[in-house]
Symmetry: C2
Subunit: 276 residues, 2 copies
């Protein structure tokens, strides 16, 4: 297949590198900044530097852009896309953008399948991209009414490039779960490092500090967009968390050892049952 | 030196193994459950199974017990300890127990130095102990008025068994910092996994879920004791965190992208400045 990857950040760059490492597909890279494409070409991450005209040759187009930017890109360049090409995004939210991309797919005649690779790092940009970033990770596919062929094309590709599992979902379920598994930990990490104690942590900290604070090294522009595009589920999770922290806080304030143990034991059992 | 380690959990067991791996000191193990000592002896983690009579031979005694159990142990067995022996605990809180252990040290004539190895795992017990657990970790020493010789004995031993740094502190500072670096992440992890979403996380989760939830596999009995023995600093940190989560929540509710970005950017800069 000929695969066009739009956006050479950590996700786009990793798709290119993983496809070149694991498959024989031909990869065309598109990016706003030309120098990044030249670097990617020199690295062997892409076979060719592309532009909007290259879109007509691509069997699969992976949009590795911020959510709104993905929509803008298709609005502007959708007419260059081959009929029946499979187009996917890689955005961390779905309800807000999938319907818009479905509508654009109907207008321009390609097949849109939403997707979200559950992998990342606490650093960003092409420099952080990695051929092994997706190894063993989950690839969430949100079909949005696309035909089986299109879904199979993407899931086969995901397995080829070493994703560990395919999870088929819908926009609402995806967003509700992502609010919990991804957005909430990012807000927690940020709120955590805002403590005046944080600056003096060295010598007093170990693994639990490191783990909670890791993703505080956040891309503020991207994540503030993601949070707002998933406001309702996120606010729901924030309130659930607030209540659960409050329950423990109240038990500590009340000096109620039995109640604290009961709450911790509940968490322990949940975590133990999940195994990971 | 002859070193007695009291308690064969993850911390005590790891002290024994690290001392045998890295030094020529002679290690005597004490523990309530005899079978664990037999296992430790068979593993070469200790040179001898000891009892209260062995305490009179030890130059250094490491109490690897729950905080209150460490006090109880000394109250009961303090008269068996050699004059001038260096006794240390390994408890995660200091203000509540150091003064009591100092008082007991004056009564029985040994030197007490508080300490806290900043290492652990999300699993417990002798089976989880590891000769390399302390590699590169911080060893917090809280001298509590002990003489320089005693402090040097402990810090030299810590470096011998591969701790990465020695941090000298006092009980108040220690407890304030530990409330932030260790206790708060444990409460967060527990509150986090209590979300009804948690049970369905598979396929929707990656590194940020894994990191925040890791220590939810908590020892409820130990940590409820630690939380109550450090109530005030912990409640302070819980309230600071609540306010910081609330600030982000309010900005999300208000659809205020600029304010969210500003808060995330503040966290990002803090984390980036710390480097880790």
């Amino acid at each position: 297949m000929i695969i066009a990857v739009v956006g050479m950040g950590i996700i786009g760059g990793s798709f290119c590198k993983a496809i070149k490492k694991n498959t024989d597909h031909y990869v065309i890279g598109l990016n706003r900044t030309k120098s990044t494409l030249e670097k990617a070409l020199a690295d062997g991450a892409i076979d060719k530097i592309g532009d909007r005209n290259s879109l007509s040759k691509a069997d699969v187009i992976i949009l590795a852009l911020y959510p709104q930017a993905a929509i803008d890109f298709i609005e502007k360049n959708g007419s260059y896309i081959k009929k029946d090409a499979v187009v996917t995004d890689s955005a961390g939210i779905k309800s807000e953008i999938c319907p818009k991309l479905v509508k654009l797919s109907e207008k321009f005649g390609f097949e849109f399948v939403g997707s979200h690779p559950m992998a990342g790092k606490e650093i960003n940009g092409y420099e952080a991209s990695d051929a092994d970033l997706f190894n063993g990770a989950s690839y969430i596919i949100v079909p949005c009414g696309a035909d089986d062929r299109a879904v199979k094309t993407l899931s086969d590709l995901a397995i080829e490039i070493k994703f560990g599992m395919i999870k088929i979902s819908n926009p609402e379920e995806h967003d509700r779960m992502i609010a919990f598994t991804s957005q909430l930990p990012h807000i927690l990490a940020c709120a955590y490092v805002m403590s005046p104690c944080c600056i003096n942590h060295k010598g007093f900290s170990a693994g639990s500090y490191r783990d909670v604070s890791r993703v505080a090294n956040i891309n503020a522009e991207l994540w503030s967009e993601l949070f707002l595009e998933n406001r309702e589920p996120l606010i729901g999770e924030l309130e659930t968390l607030r209540d659960n922290i409050l329950a423990i806080t109240d038990a500590v304030k009340a000096n109620d050892k039995e109640r604290i143990e009961e709450l911790l034991e509940k968490a322990h059992k949940t975590k133990e049952a999940l195994g990971e």
